[in-house]
Symmetry: C2
């Protein structure tokens, strides 16, 4: 039912990462407790990109401890999912404003990201995947039944 792969360039993973699926990014706080937050996500070859802003909880957390875990479910079948563990290996502001506009086009179909502000300094987190766990679609029979009943 599930399998390990070591490549986010696997076509199943790419489809999940390049859809409009939200990613849930877990980081660790200063006191060692976990923190999770929904985020847009992107991919540049074998690197995962998350666009955040300087001073946000996740940005501060990964500056202290770069280890992250990311989970996405497929909006077409939420029982298909991928979990990726990895590390933030670089943070950059270069191109970060343009990058959030690109994500806004994909996720919102907006021309530009609507949240730009001179007070917000955007940062791209570059994440190197280390472990990938993928579950292909399942439970289709229930989902079609559910949708039928809902319609």
């Amino acid at each position: 039912m599930s399998r390990r792969t070591d490549k986010i360039t696997d076509e199943n993973i790419v489809r999940l990462l390049e859809g409009r699926n939200f990613a849930f990014l877990a980081t660790v706080r200063k006191d060692g407790s976990p923190q999770v937050t929904p985020t847009w996500i992107d991919r540049d070859n074998d690197t995962i990109l998350v666009n955040t802003a300087k001073g946000r909880v996740k940005q501060k957390n990964v500056s202290r401890d770069p280890r992250v875990s990311i989970s996405l479910v497929d909006d077409q079948n939420p029982y298909s999912m991928v979990t990726i563990s990895g590390k933030v290996t670089e943070q950059t502001s270069q191109g970060a404003d343009e990058h959030i506009d690109k994500l806004a086009r994909r996720y919102l179909n907006a021309d530009k990201y609507p949240g730009h502000s001179p007070d917000i300094k955007r940062v791209i987190l570059k994440i190197k995947p280390e472990k990938i766990f993928f579950v292909p679609p399942r439970y289709q029979q229930y989902l079609s039944k559910r949708n039928h009943n809902m319609g």
Copy 2:
């Protein structure tokens, strides 16, 4: 745009917790790194319930460190979300098989949970919320435009 509340019995939070929204549960591994996984979620008054199985990563993690973070987005507007930090205060197998059947009815519209097995011992994690962060629906104008374009 966002606000803190200390009650999961707030009507906005209840609606998110009792819909068919997946929750993303973050826990901490033995080495201190974060782990996140999608899960069904339930509520019993002011306690959050997650139904897992003995030996699963999240069950082992919370047995070591009970601190968790949970994030949900609204499937009607994914820009409305809640993040809940709290602790697992109890684990019980009592009623856990019936409870996963109840969740399967809600999430899958199935009569029974399809994954029962004599080898799987189900466990309910009872989570006491400590901090709650809620973001009400936003970006509606983009979502309707997006749906229009997709249709």
